[in-house]
């Protein structure tokens, strides 16, 4: 059995039955092309957190009891002439149109608030309709701000603007519905905007749509540019136009197959599964380059080109199979993490890696055979630039093997400090485009009314009375005060907010009737079993600050003996679940690295080989973590994914090098000669691959999404570290190991 556990036989099968395989390849490609119009990206962030643990369950229960909040749209209205009764009248019409939107189940604004009518049954709008003067408008709005905590959070202190909140219908805003709702809101904003009235829309639906638009745009732009730049660098390295085309075609087909497969299996991409496309692009590019480099080298050395394809399959694909297995294991290790999002990411990753391997051993050999028939000639020599570093590497590893080895071990041990010091960090704004208008509007809301990002406390009520008993009301008041003490006076709303009406002598029952059933359900469930206390935080509260608020609130609730109280909210869910996911991903990756080192040992039938692969496999991860530590970026979702890709590439490079090394050893070369031979055979391909990947990924640094830009920086760093690990440190370790490694490389099935 080879190091590829026999999976390379599929390549031999391809060459034995080229027409049958070509039909299958063509049919599957056609199927995947037919899937392209159906490709969508699900912007539902909750899908990522689904079943991820206690925070999700709390939020889910909260949503079921009181409605959903993660889709609320905020409409910021500003006017230099807000106090003019005509302006107020026009904005009231806007509030009616918002209420009449097909996508709205309700709205919250100064115009939606009702108060008990004086001296009669029923209620009247809290903002009267017949105001005649600016003074009257100012008096009403000021009075509302002072007497009503909800209004205090919606109307700006200088009375120059207010916030209107639209609660969308969840069923109608799934899928494309959310974008349609935003279109309708934008049309309304345009209709009511004038020289005197400025209307801006923000909130989670806008942020999601901006994130989606930016990431889809980035994906499209960077994939195209990445392919183009990658092909250009392949042309530079191979010095052959058709050679570059051949090397680029495989990743292209891999990406097509992965997009088609994921769409067929999962229906749509998520923010996470979207990443596997990039991953497969990187791996397929690398494998394709190794394959093409080896094939061209064998052909240049005099082997008949068709025979060279077979020989390349025998030499390269076992290592490619092993790389695929190790990468799949890395992904599978993530599947044990709780959360639908991560599981989908894990299985998408496994599928993607398998697809990339199948493309390599089916499509690429067929493409090479066709190119031979079409008269393709190999370039006389690859570019000097990709071969030039090899003699330097050979010189350094031969002369300073011990120094390099010891230094690399010391550095690796030293890098464990930043590794263990890194803290998970999640800030929603990091995921929004740099020039996000919605983010600017959110900042304006924060500046104007102190923010409208909600945090909730759900409490059970003992008596279960719809209009709330005095005992339960006291509990609500206590929790209301606890939250207020933690986030600020006037920043909390609940059933206890209407004290001004109680002081006027209205009963609780009348007050609840007056505010209407929709708003009441945001405070107390219809059955009177549960109550909700809502706090408003600045939209741009960091996850660390949010966690401090949650912890302090929980402590205060415990101290006050409020039983069964649960602090929750979409922001809270994201802050806690995201960091849990980040740690899970990182831990899963570290376990995967260890498991994969074991697999390498089994594949090469040498624990020594497994041991030597520790340094070049860990170094790119630890080195990238040092950058994260030094730059203060911390561990973020994107950075952990970048580390996963780093590992994929590092292990890929290492396996190809070790494969070449063991072949040379089996041919009877001594330790230094075998290392030198491996460097000669694999080194240029490693350098060319790194150049192509760095060039392809370089454009990502210019992404408008900070996370994607950071992802680009990190992957380039890891590609370079992986290359250094494999052409400098790994050879040095093998040479310095001397006698220790002299028995390694007895993989008899491998031949040069």
């Amino acid at each position: 059995m080879s190091i590829g556990f026999g999976f390379e036989r599929l390549g031999i099968f391809t060459l034995k039955y080229p027409i049958a395989v070509a039909i299958v390849v063509f049919a599957f490609s056609a199927l995947c092309v037919s899937m392209l119009p159906k490709v969508t990206m699900d912007g539902d962030v909750l899908r990522i957190y689904k079943n991820s643990g206690e925070e999700f369950n709390r939020y889910d229960e909260l949503s079921k009891a009181f409605g959903t909040f993660e889709n609320d749209a905020y409409i910021l209205v500003k006017s230099s002439n807000l106090l003019d009764p005509k302006t107020i009248s026009k904005l009231r019409d806007l509030s009616f149109d918002l209420e009449l939107s097909s996508y709205a189940v309700g709205t919250l604004s100064p115009f939606s608030l009702r108060r008990p009518a004086k001296g009669e049954d029923g209620s009247v709008p809290a903002v009267p309709e017949d105001m005649q003067s600016k003074e009257e408008v100012a008096k009403i709005l000021t009075s509302l701000r002072l007497s009503d905590e909800i209004m205090r959070n919606l109307i700006s202190e200088d009375l120059s603007g207010f916030v209107m909140i639209l609660f969308p219908n969840k069923e109608l805003t799934t899928g494309s519905g959310e974008a349609e709702m935003l279109d309708e809101l934008r049309a309304l904003a345009l209709e009511y905007s004038s020289d005197e009235i400025e209307i801006k829309i923000t909130g989670p639906p806008v942020w999601k749509s901006e994130m989606l638009a930016a990431s889809i745009n980035d994906q499209m732009t960077f994939s195209i540019i990445g392919f183009f730049v990658g092909a250009l660098v392949a042309l530079f390295c191979l010095r052959s136009f058709w050679g570059a085309v051949l090397a680029t075609l495989t990743p292209f087909i891999s990406v097509l197959w992965v997009i088609g497969s994921v769409t067929m299996l999962f229906g749509s991409f998520t923010f996470l599964t979207n990443v596997v496309v990039t991953l497969v692009l990187v791996i397929a590019f690398a494998e394709s380059m190794y394959f093409c480099f080896t094939w061209l080298r064998l052909w240049r050395e005099g082997m008949e080109p068709n025979k060279a394809i077979i020989e390349t399959i025998i030499r390269v694909t076992p290592a490619a199979a092993l790389t695929s297995i190790t990468t799949m294991v890395a992904f599978l290790s993530l599947a044990i993490t709780q959360g639908q999002g991560i599981r989908e990411f894990a299985f998408s990753g496994v599928i993607a890696v398998a697809v990339a391997f199948i493309t390599l051993i089916t499509f690429l050999p067929l493409a090479l055979k066709i190119s031979i028939k079409l008269g393709f000639k190999p370039p006389k020599k690859v570019n000097i630039a990709v071969e030039a570093p090899i003699p330097i590497a050979k010189f350094l590893t031969k002369k300073y093997a011990t120094i390099i080895s010891v230094l690399s071990l010391i550095v690796m041990l030293g890098l464990l400090y930043p590794h263990f010091s890194l803290k998970a960090n999640f800030d929603f704004k990091d995921y929004l485009p740099k020039k996000s208008q919605a983010l600017d509007t959110a900042k304006e809301i924060d500046a104007g009314v102190g923010g409208v990002a909600p945090i909730y406390i759900k409490i059970p009520l003992k008596d279960g009375v719809s209009s709330v008993t005095d005992g339960d009301f006291l509990t609500i008041q206590n929790v209301h005060k606890i939250l207020e003490d933690n986030i600020g006076q006037g920043k909390v709303i609940s059933a206890a907010s209407f004290s001004s009406y109680s002081e006027l002598g209205f009963s609780r029952e009348r007050i609840f009737k007056a505010v209407g059933p929709f708003l009441k359900r945001r405070f107390v469930t219809d059955d009177g079993e549960q109550a909700l206390i809502t706090g408003f935080l600045p939209t741009l509260t960091s996850s660390n600050d949010l966690k401090i608020i949650v912890e302090n609130t929980n402590n205060a609730l415990a101290k006050a003996n409020i039983e069964g109280a649960q602090v929750s909210g979409f922001n809270v869910l994201m802050a806690y679940a995201s960091t849990d996911i980040i740690y899970s991903l990182r831990n899963g990756l570290m376990i995967a690295v260890l498991v994969n080192i074991l697999i390498i040992g089994i594949a090469f039938r040498s624990w020594r080989i497994a041991l030597v692969s520790v340094v070049p496999n860990f170094l790119p991860i630890l080195g990238t973590e040092l950058y994260l530590y030094a730059s203060g970026s911390g561990l973020q979702l994107t950075t952990v994914i970048a580390l996963t890709i780093a590992f994929g590439i590092a292990v890929d490079d290492t396996i190809h090098f070790l494969s070449a090394y063991t072949r040379a050893k089996n041919d009877g070369l001594n330790q230094a000669e075998a290392v030198s031979k491996a460097l000669e055979n694999v080194g240029p391909a490693l350098i060319a691959t790194t150049l192509i990947l760095c060039a392809g990924v370089f454009v990502i640094i210019f992404s408008s999404l900070p996370q994607i830009a950071l992802f680009g920086t990190l992957t380039i760093l890891t590609f370079i570290l992986a290359l250094l690990g494999d052409i400098l440190i790994l050879p040095a370790l093998l040479i310095a190991g001397g006698r220790f490694f002299k028995f390694s490389g007895d993989t008899k099935n491998e031949k040069n």
């Binding site: 009231r92 009616f96 029952e509």
Partner: protein
């Protein structure tokens, strides 16, 4: 707990929208009536004042009418007052043998069922009696509809037969 006001408001959009749809020109034969349902296809909007004993406030409605199978039409409407909105959807057809319009409807309120409209000379009178299942109060709902050019005018009132309180509104709908 009495829910007079709430029930009155919740029944309003149902009746207003039904009335708007039934306001077909009367001086036409049955087949023409059926065909004329199609002339209601489109987006309608209306705004008026809701009058109660001691106060008045704005009510605003919208109605979307789309073609359905045969000579039927589908409709979807929504009305809003400050702090609340109510929606209704259903299908409407003209029944030649009964010489009347019937609208099957479901709403976001407790109301659902079949509304019936009958022609009276130059306008259509619409009447419905219903009982609030929660309070037991009985209601009488009357409306008078006039169609002129592109505007449907609805004069509408709800009387709580138990408390004798009245809520009324006039809403002109236009495309």
């Amino acid at each position: 707990m009495r829910k007079t006001k709430l029930f009155s408001i919740t029944i309003l959009p149902v009746m207003i929208i039904s009335s708007a749809l039934i306001s077909i020109s009367p001086a036409i034969s049955a087949p023409e009536n059926a065909e004329l349902l199609n002339s209601y296809i489109g987006e309608w909007k209306g705004s008026g004042k809701l009058n109660r004993a001691n106060n008045t406030e704005t009510i605003r409605c919208k109605l979307s009418v789309t073609p359905a199978k045969g000579s039927k039409i589908n409709y979807k409407g929504k009305c809003a007052v400050a702090g609340a909105n109510f929606s209704i959807a259903g299908t409407m057809a003209y029944f030649k043998e009964k010489k009347r319009y019937e609208a099957v409807m479901s709403s976001s309120t407790s109301f659902s069922g079949v509304a019936i409209g009958e022609r009276q000379k130059d306008s259509i009178d619409f009447q419905l009696k219903d009982r609030n299942s929660e309070t037991g109060d009985r209601f009488e709902i009357k409306s008078n509809i006039e169609l002129s050019e592109e505007v449907i005018g609805i004069d509408f009132s709800v009387v709580n037969l138990t408390t004798k309180k009245v809520i009324s509104t006039i809403i002109p709908f236009s495309k």
